[in-house]
Amino acid sequence: MKVKIIIILLAVYLFSGCSTPSDQIKLDFWHAMADPKDKVLNVLVSDFEKQNPGIKITTQYVGNYDVLLQKLLASVAAGNPPDIAQVYENWTTRFVEEKAIVRIEDFFSRDYDKEKDLQDIYPVFLKNNSYDKKLWTFPFNKSIYVYYYNEALFKKEGLVPPKTASEFLNICTKLTKRDESGKVVRYGFGFRANIDIFAIFLYMNKGRFFNEEETKSTFNNAVGRETLQFISDLYNKYKVAEYSKDYLDNDFASGRLAAFFATSPHRSYLEPLVAFPLGVAPLPAGKVKAVPIAGTNLAIFEKKKKTAGREEACFRFIKWLSGSENNVKWAIGTSYLPIRKSAAENPAMLAHLKKKPFDAVGIHEIENAVPDPRLKCWQEVRIYIGEALEKVLLQRESPGVALDEAAKKVDALLAR
């Protein structure tokens, strides 16, 4: 009798052990992909799990990018970070310094088709994820700025999207409409009053934020002043543009704005809102063709407690996710850029681009892409330059004074 009970207990013990295999690796993946992008991500994750039954990935939407950074820093400080998370380059600088993340190069260098990847992934992304010539993070959801416009309106007025800065101003002027009382009922252009609009025009004018070594500000030189003056003129002098602190989607959808700049995947938020045909065009060229890229990369976080195979499993997932076939699914579902040439040329991608020529606009802009600076203090720099822009828009200060003030603060940070 006793033996029987022991056998039963043993069997229960063993079988219950089988139902949840203890050798399964569980990974947490923190992201900032709001609806509907998270759906695309979750489908990919469950595909991965089907192909890799030994790995279970829990995706967690933690909020927007600001919140993601706050939670990542807090979790690193508390010694309990996720396994994988989206990170911007300037965050990575911080994490590399504190050894909070695992160097992807360590796995990538041993990968069987590393050479193929190096040829295939767009160089701008590889460079942007490398620190001291080693790959620390892996490109994931990369996007690029495009010109969104109200196609119906452009057609009615017989206009095509601007190709140069002067055409841009011309179109803004033509499409700004006033009622009998002189009140503007539609602006030719809209922008959010933060650093992004300044970056777009600065790069276009062949300007940069810092010198090559990133030790000194250059955004307050003649090019920077001219750039800021132009943005201010759109609003204050020509009165052909409106600015906001908030997203511009609703103003655009209701017809109060004829056009605005936003990143390529923004299309998925806009399409359900607009009742008119949506147009997407490359940014106009200034002195040069140069377009800021945005979007994040994937990092593997360091854990105090070492689990066998955890880091390998993370890399396996990242590698799988960025593979041509899955990258295409991701790009088609979200309008993020394909990160490799083979994905951009994939038959499924080409078929999609034929249906949605919009998404090709961003892909063609990759060759002109300019990545953001990667300084640890970039978040602060963004705010100081945003404040300068605001002072100029409100006509409290001239571009020269406002930018010099910001540069003084930024240079103090750089000197540290």
């Binding site: 600001d66 807090a74 400080a77 906001s244 602190k245 103003d251 109060r256 978040q379 605001e390």
Partner: protein, 292 residues
């Protein structure tokens, strides 16, 4: 026996003590400690700087601006909020038609999520499509840019705050007014007191404890203002015009990751609120008639 009683009492208090110590007292004291360091939240090394963060605060114009904005916010919201709430409560204490509907309407904003409320007020303040500019337009007032205008942004946040907390204050006052025993009114009537005299000499003095309570929590609340500002002006203003103390703390802690500096700000906020509470208690303590 006495000793035993104390022990039992402490045993019952223990759950609260653990929670308050764990989530209030220990973090507060720890943040005082952190304010002596320069730290970015993830560095293993914390640089000890003594009281240098407080020295920096003393000459930080942005800090003084945020303190000014906070005081401005308190002055703009508390008296107006209290007077308005009192008048409404007084009205609701009378037997009028649809009493419950009015009470619900006034209380609704209090229980509505600040996020939802924020979205609606963003729309109300929209310079082109907002209902406020449309409404003012009917009276010939020209359109304002509200949250984009450094002069109007903070008053716009104040207006939403008053509206949001009005219902709570109304309830406190209403309870205060309704709990005044009928005998006092009857006595006043027999003495030949008329409407305003009754209000002045019976109602008002007996509601003073409620007024004290509401003033105190409004004052503390206004020094802790953050969410309203963050919802309407996520960047703390045009030209920092809505950057109040707690927003300034948040920006230093969670945008710039200057944890030591932010902790110094938090200590200053602590001292201000503590001092205000003591002062108020002293001032009002002697002037309130508590109903026995």
């Amino acid at each position: 026996m006495k000793k035993n009683d104390n022990f039992t009492a402490y045993l019952f208090l223990l759950p609260s003590i653990i929670v308050i110590a764990g989530f209030h007292i220990i973090p507060t004291v720890y943040s005082w400690y952190i304010s002596m360091f320069n730290w970015d939240l993830i560095s293993k090394h914390k640089e000890f700087v003594g009281f240098a963060n407080y020295g920096k605060l003393a000459v930080d114009l942005d800090f003084w601006k945020s303190l000014f904005n906070t005081v401005y916010f308190a002055l703009g919201t508390i008296p107006a909020g209290i007077i308005l709430a009192f008048l409404i409560a007084y009205g609701l204490s009378k037997k009028i038609k649809g009493l419950n509907i009015f009470r619900t309407i006034y209380f609704l904003p209090v229980v509505t999520s600040i996020n939802a409320v924020g979205m609606i007020w963003l729309w109300i303040y929209h310079p082109d499509a907002g209902i406020l500019n449309w409404l003012l337009g009917l009276f010939g007032v020209s359109a304002q840019r509200w949250l984009l205008d450094p002069v109007f942004a903070l008053p716009a946040v104040m207006l939403m705050s008053i509206w949001k907390s009005l219902g709570y204050n109304v309830i406190i006052f209403l309870v205060g007014i309704l709990s005044i025993p009928r005998e006092y009114y009857e006595a006043a009537e027999i003495d030949g007191a008329s409407g305003f005299a009754v209000f002045r000499n019976v109602t008002l003095p007996l509601v003073m404890p409620s007024v004290f309570f509401v003033t105190l929590i409004s004052l503390i609340g206004s020094f802790q203002t953050f969410t309203q500002v963050y919802m309407l002006t996520p960047e703390g203003g045009p030209l920092k015009s809505t950057t109040v103390l707690v927003y300034y703390l948040y920006k230093n802690a969670f945008v710039f990751f200057k944890i030591g500096y932010a902790s110094a700000v938090s200590f200053v906020i602590f001292v201000i609120i503590f001092a205000l509470t003591l002062l108020q208690n002293k001032y009002w303590g002697e002037r309130i008639h508590y109903e026995n």
